[in-house]
Symmetry: C2
Subunit: 640 residues, 2 copies
């Protein structure tokens, strides 16, 4: 029956090129089924051809297979000299030789009529390539397959672009024909690496550490003021679900429920309109556990990443380095430092204090006034003139912070807007602190600590990117610098009203145990038990130890944040019902994978991404819905 | 730092009961971290206490642990005789003995003030129970823990119900306090088994057979006429996403994209309003592969289920039995036969033809007219009088099919509405065909084949359920009967207009290769390459070989189904772009797990289910949204 169905299927669906004496299609898919499925051991390598028409993938044949009869399925990549086909699947390329005899000439003729990217099934024998004709650039280049039969399983129209990574195509064309783009080696690699890495994460969490994979709802109650949440109208008039931004409440409730090690590769939603490199739906590896402290979660996540890290991407340190928020801000001017390169922010207040110039003295008189500097090695060579000016102007526009550029010429003399004010003594003092030497560029900012650091932090990244553009290698592209940033402030002044406080992360974050008293005296000084995981200057994860005491939670919500606690009454009630101490983290999977595969955008690690305006360019979603169809949802579109 | 944080944390969050000379809390979470995380081998058992405050779970201590110092975390289940605590976690119960000395009396006094379900951390030593005091009903009943310290990590208010499986509570109360319900041993078992089984499925698909886990979008384009789809308004006026009912289009596009073995544990959505035992969001194990035929998918799924099947639930056959749709309908009157018990539908047309009674002759004159029967062994004992009548009336109401009940008395004589018409000869003929003997009940239906079978099929299930109620064991509760149903019709007449055809499953289903010609001559006779997987009479999966030829797909959509092909132009275009032959399946995970754990409802295998009206009773979702908040979505609620 299998044989019959298989052959019928082939015949029913396009061309079938038969040579005289063609054998019935072999049912390659029975080969290993029994032996594979009864073993409960994870094999070293997967069986990529089980249950399928093929016996092997196009990429796996080698010298050792010579003499074997094989069945291959794939796409026609090339057609060479009327004699060779190159067949492609996700695994690689293989050269197929058409028979030279009379039957073969019929086959050749028919193959000439078949377009590239048609789907073929080839039956034949693996033979060595004639001496001298091996192709060392091809993994299968030592051999080729002498075809006995070629079946055309499906033909292909003229495509909008060739399936070759080398062929340039616009991103909108790639998105419109995503199913063609997915055939590219790069996207195959990205999506397969993502799958593989998530699988390893699951093994680590589920099999090694007893975590339970729990699916939480995505149709949930709207968060009051949750402007970034998608709404979902229901069949009940005026009632809406909301698509949550994270399973935060559910994972805490699971802890209260005694399901004390939870994880989920969770779909999350954020309605942000047009934002570059964000997606309206995204995925996070969501983890929560009970009876754990901050360091416990950090070690768990480090183990998780080491275990799931792709072999070809090197190894990760044990443990990961940790930096406080305060240090990150003062040395890197940002809470997610890219520690792959130096150019750290240095304090030169003491040295510059001697300078009687007005703007320096004025800056120092301000609260937390200081002078900060970064040194760009060889910066004088690569960063000058208009290019440098435009970067400094960008910083000025963004942070209202003047930056002073000081150049150390190749002869060791210094050049700066300060003229003679930059005395030899001051030059010496600055060189002593910053290590400035010939060809270096020093950039100084005078002002309040946070502003100066933030501006220099942004400048540091801009300069690094400029230097990389100029071909100065700052970072080894194969380097992955993980970093924990800890001891964040628990509260921040609200932007619109700095007298009021809001949570730096979310209101369920526990205060640092050393700062518990400050909660009553000076909440702005309370550090939190929040931690961010940073990779190469990108935030790839964040989490915290949560408040498990209902009184403390109520105090934070009511007294500090002035929120209406009734809206979270079910959560407070849960905390009163025997909630264990707990904490967790969420890793941004799309971002993490995109950094690992060095993709330019998270769209390159998502099978069917939305455009930056939130459109699916293939199906043209979102789309209009007729007023009639909207009736059953009890809504209508508001007239403009 | 870890120690400090740990101890501070305990102190910051509730009571801390200290005995003189208390040691600092041991950081149990460092124990195995290094050795576990560096191993890439999946261990036999998970480390359930890694990274946590505890050294062991409450359920794992045994005689072999006697003498060990342990740290346990859990919930206070009982407090006995002023001297014993029973601590509970997901893993089990453990008895803790408070010290009998003077320090202990202080501890006892404080423990008396602590409510049940408070969260405790106990440090102590494992000791054997005094001879004769072992509790064989408790897995840890041979030992107890002599406490040195007890820390109260959190207290518990008076709860709406006790955390004991034996305590009855209404389902709405359970849903409102789902975080308490999850503490029950039954829900812990259900959710953990679900996680474990899904993990095994992933191992099988991903590690053993090279399937790639790909996440597909849930914000997609609305299907024309997709009345059961949820809508999602966007920030663009009048534009809506839709939450798809399955990733069907995406998985086919992945095949066109050469990602030739796809799977996903996919969240799906269906807006059905109030339906018992359905959920607005549900989960399916979604699989698709290329270069495969129907039998290939069936074998793959069988291997998947055998591999992931919980050990404690026995073993599954290899292969699973298969039945055609036609046979299922004629023998069981339903397309998802429960084959755990007999009582199959038998044909007695030949025997009854001799009967000259009007209603029989009339039935036989109809198209496909026949007489069908089922035999209920010992039915005459358990099914009689009003109980039987009401079941027969139910069938009459539902199918407009009269059922005739024939009783074989204990003395072997027959009783029926036919009176003398039921001659001895006919009795003999019927007994010969059906095997009817003393105490049996025979139920006969005369009419068109499909109606008679469907009615008897429903009757069969009703009678079985009645017999089970009467304590007649028809099915071993530990029996799992998987069955493939194949050779479904490809098209069905539309209910509202039987002249027109609609797809029996979906329009992408491939015709049976043997019936390709019928597509042009008599589409109603075309069988499909669709297959359903049935477990104990429930459909737990369905799939098909898909159409990969664009011409065939166009013909089905345009000529047979009379649909507007422009709406699916991107799919037709994809099929023209070198689409491989492909097929797949989707398994309903919620239903599958609920049958395996014998849950009454799928709500018992979902962590946070919605009520049958689609409500989250804990948070009260869905909820009203203010007109002001609706503005940013450009919608308003239609006035009544």
């Amino acid at each position: 029956m299998a044989l019959r169905t298989g052959a019928k299927l082939l015949m029913s669906c396009g061309f079938l090129l038969r040579r005289p004496g063609m054998r019935t299609l072999r049912a390659a898919h029975w080969r290993n089924a029994a032996s594979v499925t009864t073993s409960h051991q994870t094999p070293r390598t997967s069986d990529l051809s089980s249950f399928a028409f093929r016996s092997h993938t196009c990429g796996e044949l080698r010298q050792a297979h010579v003499g074997q009869e094989v069945t291959l399925c794939g796409w026609l990549q090339y057609h060479r000299h009327d004699m060779f086909l190159v067949l492609r699947d996700f695994h690689g390329l293989i050269q197929v030789v058409l028979p030279a005899d009379e039957d073969g000439s019929h086959l050749k003729e028919m193959m000439n009529a078949v377009s590239l990217e048609s789907v073929l099934l080839v039956e034949g024998t693996v033979i060595p390539r004639p001496p001298g004709q091996e192709n060392s650039k091809m993994a299968t280049g030592d051999i080729e397959v002498q075809a006995k039969e070629v079946h055309v399983l499906n033909t292909c129209r003229k495509l909008p672009f060739e399936i070759k990574d080398s062929v340039k195509k616009s991103e909108s064309l790639r998105m419109q024909y995503r199913y063609l783009d997915i055939r590219s080696a790069q996207l195959q690699y990205n999506l397969r690496l993502r799958s593989r890495m998530v699988m390893k994460m699951r093994e680590y969490l589920c099999n090694q550490h007893g975590f339970v994979d729990v699916e939480t709802p995505t149709l949930f109650k709207r968060t009051p003021g949750g402007a970034k949440e998608f709404l979902v109208p229901t069949q009940e008039p005026g009632k809406f679900y909301s698509l949550p931004q994270s399973p935060q409440q559910f994972k805490q409730l699971l802890m209260v429920g005694g399901l004390d090690r939870y994880f989920q590769v969770a779909r999350c939603y954020r309605d942000e309109g047009s934002r570059p490199d964000r997606q309206p739906e995204f995925t996070q590896v969501d983890i929560e556990m009970s009876f754990v402290d901050q360091l416990g979660i950090q070690r768990l996540v480090e183990g998780l990443l080491r275990y799931s890290w792709p072999e070809e991407k090197g190894t990760l340190p044990d443990p990961f380095p940790t930096m406080t928020y305060a240090e990150a801000m003062s040395s890197y001017g940002v809470d997610k430092p890219d520690t792959r390169f130096q150019m750290k922010i240095m304090d030169v207040t003491a040295q510059m204090r001697t300078l009687s110039l007005g703007f320096v003295q004025e800056a120092l008189r301000k609260s937390h006034g200081c002078v900060k500097a970064i040194r760009v090695p060889e910066g004088a060579i690569y960063l000058k003139g208009r290019a440098l000016d435009s970067i400094l102007q960008l910083i000025k526009n963004k942070y209202n912070q003047d930056i002073m550029a000081v150049i150390v010429r190749s002869d060791g003399s210094w050049k700066s807007p300060l003229g003679k004010n930059l005395s030899e003594e001051l030059q010496k003092a600055l060189a002593g602190t910053t290590g400035a030497k010939a060809e270096d560029l020093l950039l100084l900012a005078a002002g309040p600590h946070d502003t100066a650091c933030t501006a220099l932090g942004k400048l540091r990244l801009e300069l690094a990117s400029k230097l990389e553009e100029c071909g100065v290698p700052l970072c080894d592209p194969n380097t992955f610098h993980f970093l924990w940033v800890v001891d964040f402030p628990l509260f921040l002044p609200k932007e619109e009203n700095p007298e009021e406080l809001e949570s730096a992360h979310h209101p369920f974050t526990a205060p640092h145990p050393d700062d518990m008293e400050l909660l009553y005296t000076d909440p702005t000084k309370v550090r939190s038990q929040h931690y961010d995981l940073v990779l190469n200057g990108n935030e790839v994860g964040g989490g915290s130890i949560r408040i498990h005491n209902s009184e403390l939670q109520r105090r934070v919500l009511q007294d500090v944040l002035k929120e209406d606690v009734n809206l979270l009454s079910h959560l407070l009630e849960a905390l009163e019902s025997g909630a264990p101490p707990h904490g967790g983290i969420a890793l941004g999977l799309d971002r993490l994978i995109s950094i690992i595969v060095r993709a330019k955008s998270i769209r390159d690690v998502i099978a069917f991404p939305k455009s930056f305006r939130g459109y699916d360019l293939m199906s043209n979603a979102p789309d209009a819905v007729s007023a009639e169809d909207l009736q059953s949802y009890h809504i209508q579109v508001t007239p403009k």
